[in-house]
């Protein structure tokens, strides 16, 4: 069975089609959700829910298109929403402390060269935690899912310029956070 056949079967009510899709896409989907939620159990719940909802809306899906982008978009949206729902940000703001971040960014020119050890891995993971859910999502889309800015724009329904802005803001904040660590 290939993906197209699986979707055709699913549209006819044969859940072996869903099983094929789950087996094929669950790992990447849970890892994607985890990078945003930082909670494996929550990520699994989100992906489960998204598969169940896909099951109910599969009739509207064109099986000639790839399932993965459509599905991962829903996983990403759900992950961002779950984190946003329960977070009350005090001041994540780039506005209130813009000069501070600008100063940090200016000192962080060589951060790119440092991502090569477990320590750096830990630092990035901690820094990711401090990004807003939406910023985390664009970082995951760009670097984990390796989507181009145009693909990200298409999937999120935003203009390419908006994606560029979001991605740049996320990258700059990540750089600033890593710079803070490296100076410590």
């Amino acid at each position: 069975m290939n993906e197209k056949q699986a979707i055709q079967r699913l549209k006819k009510g044969d859940i072996s089609g869903l099983e094929f899709l789950v087996k094929d896409h669950q790992l990447k989907a849970v890892r994607t959700a985890y990078l945003i939620t930082r909670d494996v159990g929550l990520a699994e719940d989100i992906v489960q829910d998204t598969f169940v909802r896909a099951f109910h809306s599969i009739h509207g899906f064109d099986e000639n298109r790839s399932f993965e982008p459509w599905f991962l978009r829903s996983v990403l949206n759900a992950s961002v929403k779950v984190v946003q729902m329960s977070s009350r940000l005090i001041e994540v703001g780039s506005e209130s402390d813009g000069s501070h971040f600008a100063e940090l960014i200016s000192r962080a020119e060589s951060v790119e060269e440092q991502i090569e050890s477990l320590e750096i891995q830990k630092q990035i993971w901690e820094a990711m935690h401090k990004l807003s859910p939406r910023q985390r999502a664009v970082i995951v889309q760009r670097y984990f899912l390796e989507m181009s800015e145009k693909e990200m724009a298409t999937e999120s329904g935003a203009a390419v310029g908006t994606i560029k802005w979001l991605l740049n803001a996320a990258r700059e904040r990540l750089r600033a956070l890593l710079a803070e660590r490296s100076e410590g």
Binding site: K11, L27, L42, T50, N77, A78, I139, E146, S148, V160
Partner: protein, 485 residues
């Protein structure tokens, strides 16, 4: 930031924490098997009586839901009062070594436990997080724990060296009836090893005061909707199966379409003492000339609301009454309106964003053994969407192909492309594209596609899809008449 290294880091973290052998299928199969059973019934008329009885039972439950007394707590949401709602007896503040933890609010009802807490006097440093990443749990007597369902995230900002406050909310499973003492437990507040650890904050629950929960009654959500008609043919659906399924009654799993197709749909009306909260969605049923772009922000696609005389009606967006999952092509909303307004009320959405797409396929013969660097001049005119393009060339690159094409400058920024080779998606690695608008009269595009296995060769069918986001003018309206008192 070097992209490959960043990708490697994220891959390592994901691989470390999410094991390869995870399997969600047993749980998912359990959740969808009821549908499978009903489809079997549907195909066997001898069992039709069972289905009819089941349908009657469902109708009864719907009827029961209307008029159901529930409750609303601003900032918390709708609470189920089928068991008594309990709250924190009083806010609890614990201070240790200069750090203060405050549990400001706890609400537990039949469906969930909501906790609002804050940390004070965290010192923001240049060295990273001012707090540890431990997740608090609710400890019940005899050692059992309630783990976080969602929440606990957040961020901070401010001046380095200045004390800051971090506050957040979290959702846990409901605290069992009869358990009136729980412990809010945190392994740490400050970064590990830098401050007091093992925080145990005792909390005492009491029945919610009589006026704590705003009484709310779900009333009938009868409405009239109108939608503009579009000439574009709807996407055909192969089969529609009506399937009873266990869903959150507040938010149907599949949005019910408005009678006239895509548009505003009212799902629920909550009556509070001084206001109504209208809960609904904009459902895309496939009859628009593109897919509606869903949004996670309650403030996108804000409508106009008018009273019976056409005067604007003020409303509050209620972001605490929304489904957790925002489903693609469905935009959920909840608006609170004062009871004093004169109905009928007309909600008008003037414009939405839709994603349109158009696909063209063309043949390309790469030959049996194409070499990296080999290039083919195609000069193939195509038409996509509202624009004309010319496919200039194809080139074999490492692990895939690069296609170059161009258009005139009438193509605006914001369009995007997906390139695919038909029949090869299973082994596809990545796709990427770029756009060059520097010439005054043409726009040059490059799209490449790579594979995890040797790329396909020979006679290929290439598929190029154009995506464009455009505003679609309505209006879509929904008219709701408040009940006569």
């Amino acid at each position: 930031m070097k992209e490959k290294r960043m990708k490697d880091v994220l891959q390592s973290i994901a691989q470390r924490d999410v094991p390869e052998n995870m399997d969600l299928w047993p749980q998912i199969a359990g959740r969808v098997e009821s549908r499978n059973f009903l489809q079997t019934v549907r195909a066997r008329p001898a069992l039709a009586l069972v289905l009819v009885l089941l349908a009657l039972a469902l109708l009864s439950s719907v009827a029961y839901a209307i008029g159901k007394v529930t409750g609303y707590i601003p900032g918390v949401g709708i609470v189920d009062q089928s068991v008594p709602v309990r709250v924190l007896a009083q806010p609890v503040v614990i201070k240790r070594e200069g750090v203060t933890v405050t549990v400001a609010q706890l609400v537990t009802n039949a469906e969930y436990t909501f906790v609002a807490y804050a940390f004070d006097a965290l010192i923001l440093s240049r060295n990273g997080s001012p707090m540890c990443s431990a997740t608090p749990v609710l400890q019940l007597p005899y050692g059992s724990k309630l783990g976080l369902l969602s929440g606990g995230g957040g961020g901070w900002g401010g001046e380095v060296g200045v004390p800051i406050r971090f506050e957040t909310t979290a959702y846990y499973p409901p605290i069992p009836a009869g358990v009136d003492h729980v412990t809010f437990a945190l392994d740490c507040v400050l970064p590990e090893g830098t401050g007091p650890e093992n925080w145990q904050i005792p909390l005492t629950l009491i029945p919610a005061p009589a006026d704590f929960v705003t009484p709310a009654v779900e009333i009938g959500a009868t409405f009239v909707a109108s939608s503009p008609k579009f000439v574009t043919a709807p996407t055909p659906t192969i089969e529609t199966v009506l399937t009873p399924f266990e869903v959150d009654p507040a938010f149907p799993d599949t949005p019910t379409p408005v009678p006239s197709g895509s548009g505003l749909y009212l799902e629920q009306v909550i009556e509070l003492p001084d206001s109504y909260i209208l809960v609904g969605n904009f459902a895309d049923t496939g009859d628009l000339p593109g897919a509606v772009l869903s949004t996670g922000s309650a403030y996108d696609y804000l409508p106009r609301i008018e009273d019976m005389t056409g005067n604007p009606v003020a409303f509050n967006v209620r972001d605490d009454i929304k489904p957790i999952v925002n489903w693609a092509n469905t935009y959920y909303w909840a608006y609170e309106i004062e009871k004093s307004v004169q109905g009928p009320l007309k909600i008008t959405l003037d414009e939405i964003d839709i994603s349109t797409s158009d696909t063209v396929r063309f043949d390309f013969d790469a030959g049996p053994t194409p070499q990296v660097g080999q290039e083919w001049q195609l000069n193939l005119p195509i038409h996509l969407g509202r624009y004309d393009y010319v496919i200039d060339s194809a080139e074999m690159i490492q692990d895939g192909y690069l296609f170059k094409f161009h258009s005139g400058t009438e193509v605006p920024e914001g369009t995007s492309f997906i390139l695919d080779i038909v029949g090869s998606s299973q082994e596809r690695g990545s796709m990427a594209g770029s756009e060059d608008r520097r010439p005054k009269d043409i726009v040059k595009y490059s799209q490449n596609i790579t594979y995890l296995v040797p790329p396909p060769t020979g006679q290929l069918v290439v598929e190029l899809t154009l995506y464009e986001t455009i505003p679609l003018q309505g209006p879509w309206t929904l008219t709701w008449t408040p009940p006569v008192k």
